[in-house]
Every structure is written in C-alpha cells, then in structure tokens.
C-alpha cells in the first residue's frame, strides 16, 4: 500500500470527540428509555464506565500496532513505559510529544499537555476550579456514597447530552490503561487525569505499590 500511514490530526480529533458524544448521548437515551428509568447518578456512572471501556478497547488494539514494531522483549520498566507514552503514543494520537514531564523516583510520573487537543473548543476552566478524574477501581465502587457524590457533581455540569471535560479525560485515561497494561501487565498501576486552573492537562501514571 502506497499510503504513508498518516491522516490529518484535525479529522482524528473530530472523530474522537464524536465518539465521546455518541457514548454520552447513548447513555442518556438508554437511561431515559428504560422501563424503570435509572436514577440520574447511575446514568452518569454508566457513562463513565462506557467511556473508559471504549478507551480501554482502543488502547488494547493500538498496543498491538505500536508494540509490534518495538524491539523490546519482556516487561517494560515504569520509566520506559512513561517515555514510550510521552513520545510514541502522543505522536501517534495527537501529532506531537507531551510538552513536559515530571517524575518522582522513577515510580510516579506526570505528563503535562499545555493545550490538550481533544479539549480544544471546550470552555476554559475558570477561577480556582479544577477538573479531575481518579482512576476507577473496585474499591471506589464499593464506596457507594463517594461515587454517587462524584456522579452527582458531574451530572450538574452537564447540559443535555453534550460531553464535558471529564468525559474526555476518562476516555483518554481508558486508552492509556489499555495501552499500558499490555506493556506492564502485572505491576501496580493507577492512572488519573486532571485539568488545572491554567488549563494544563495532567496525566498521572502512578506505579507505586500502594495508592490511596
């Protein structure tokens, strides 16, 4: 095939936003149509699960393509994983490398994107407000009151079925989880993302044994 393996970053960004919109609107529709309509918090939680699930699927499939061409055998180190994500994955998905990386003892990393492409066109975060998404974990779901509060807060932000910042972050975290789990299958790992009041987007890869 003569194709050089690239497409415009604009069309890829637009497609990903449409995918997120599809998942959000589909959940809203299903929630409303149910014979016993789901409580709003439950609809919100299902949206988060679906977004992360679809992101995971993409990450897993993408790993097959990206890692096929890597010479490394066996498991990657946390530092190796992070550099691969910061350079190769970011170039693959966003057409550039991450802007900045911070780390602590080669076990906790923060990838910083000054102007995250998939949030272009979303309103700026104002004042001292931030947006954050902790990694979804089994224990989090056990804490029913916590997750319900979390769902309630994002539900209040929603206007109809338009995506919000957190949807984009959850989906992207899902992609990272799918990708990284193939490279680092058995070690401890938590991934979360946040947007600060300077509109920088941070993706945290936390390889510490115990995470709170």
């Amino acid at each position: 095939m003569g194709h050089n393996g690239l497409v415009s970053e604009s069309v890829a960004a637009a497609l990903n936003i449409e995918l997120i919109s599809y998942v959000v609107s589909r959940q809203t529709l299903h929630g409303e149509d149910g014979p016993s309509a789901s409580p709003e918090n439950e609809v919100e939680l299902n949206t988060h699960k679906d977004l992360e699930g679809l992101g995971l699927l993409l990450g897993l499939r993408l790993s097959e393509r990206l890692l096929y061409r890597q010479p490394s055998f066996g498991e990657w180190t946390p530092s190796g994983v992070t550099h691969f994500v910061a350079r190769t994955f970011w170039k693959t998905a966003f057409g550039k490398k991450v802007d900045r990386m911070m780390h602590m003892n080669d076990i906790y990393f923060c990838l910083i994107d000054r102007s995250f492409r998939w949030l272009e066109g979303f309103p700026k975060i104002k004042g001292d407000r931030t947006v954050s998404t902790k990694a979804v974990s089994l224990s989090a779901y056990a804490e029913e009151s916590v997750t319900k509060d979390e769902a309630a807060s994002t539900r209040d932000e929603r206007l109809g079925d338009m995506p919000i910042h957190k949807d984009v972050l959850i989906y992207t975290v899902g992609i990272l989880k799918g990708l990284i789990r193939v490279m680092y299958p058995s070690g401890p790992l938590a991934i979360h993302a946040n947007i600060n009041n300077e509109n920088e987007t941070h993706f945290v890869l936390d390889f510490r044994s115990t995470t709170t």
């Binding site: 095939m1 604009s10 069309v11 497609l15 449409e18 993409l58 998905a93």
Partner: protein, 196 residues
Amino acid sequence: MKKTPARAPTSSNEGEKAFERGDKVSAEFFAITYGALVQQMVADLAQEEDVEAVNQQLDAMGRRIGSRLIEEYSVRSGAPACRTFAQAADGVALVGLRMFLNVTATVEPAREAGTDAFAIKFAENPLALFVELPEGPLRERLWYSNVICGVVAGALGMVGFLAEATFVRDTLRGDAVNEILLCFKGREKETFQVDR
C-alpha cells in the same frame, strides 16, 4: 480519466501541500478509533437487521465533522473559492480528501446520474484498515465509511452547496474501487463567509 490537464495537477498539488502543512497522526490510530465506534453502533442496534440506522448515524456524525473541517479547509488549503459544481467536486476529491484523509482520489462527471453529478473514486481507504465485514446484513447493507459522505455533504452545505453524497461501490463489499456519487441539488442564496 477525461479531465482538463491544466486543472487537475494544480488541485492535486494543493491537496498535497495542504496535507503536508498540517499536523498529522497515525492512520492506524484513526482506523482503530473509527472501527471501535462502528462496532459499538452495530452492537447498540435494537434490531440486528436495522443496519440502515448505522448508515444514517454515520452520515449525521460526518455532517457535524464536515461543518467543522470546512473552516480549516478554507483557511489552510490555499484552494480558491469554488464557484461551480465542477469546481466544488474538484475541491472535495482533489484537495479535501487529500488534505484530511491523505487519500488520492479521482473525480469525473457521472453523466448517467444527471448533469450535476460527479463520481469520486479512490482505491485506498484509511478508515477501513484491519476491517473485514462478515457475510450477511452488514456486508450487504452497511456502508462502513459512510461518515465520509456526511463530511462531504456537511462541508459543502456550510459554503452554500446543497449536495448529496452516497457510496455506490465499496472495496469492503468486494468491489474493485471505492466510489462516492456526489450530486449537487442547488445552492443556498446566501453563503456563509469564513472571516479570519
């Protein structure tokens, strides 16, 4: 291909230059994203046979994407404003498809479909990497890349051309080439101007 030699090389070059100027991402990532989306839409069908609903969803999604991409096309492609249907068809096939999808396409009048119809053909489809459609309703009725038709119609609509774009041949169905039939229905009296 019966085309005016003076025009095609210029438009093709414009598409190539526009593509090179922009930021680019992996076509594999793009195809995997699209595949996951189509797969989800098919899984969400209430009736397994209702494949046409997916075609319509992809078209609607494409129209939204096209209405956003047209601004970038206007600003960054360097292509002149299209004044005739033939020029618009050239813009789509030789500049737009190259600029955004990195697709080399040809365009020619489709006489049998009317005086304002054009056949756009392309051999390679970046959306359809890694895809095989199973025998049955999907292979027979799904236009897998129907989002492209929506993008084309949506983008043209934003600059005053009323058009319908439909797939008539698809390599995923076993055809030799991918072909989109682009039919112009008229023009809006007032066109949007993208000022920047």
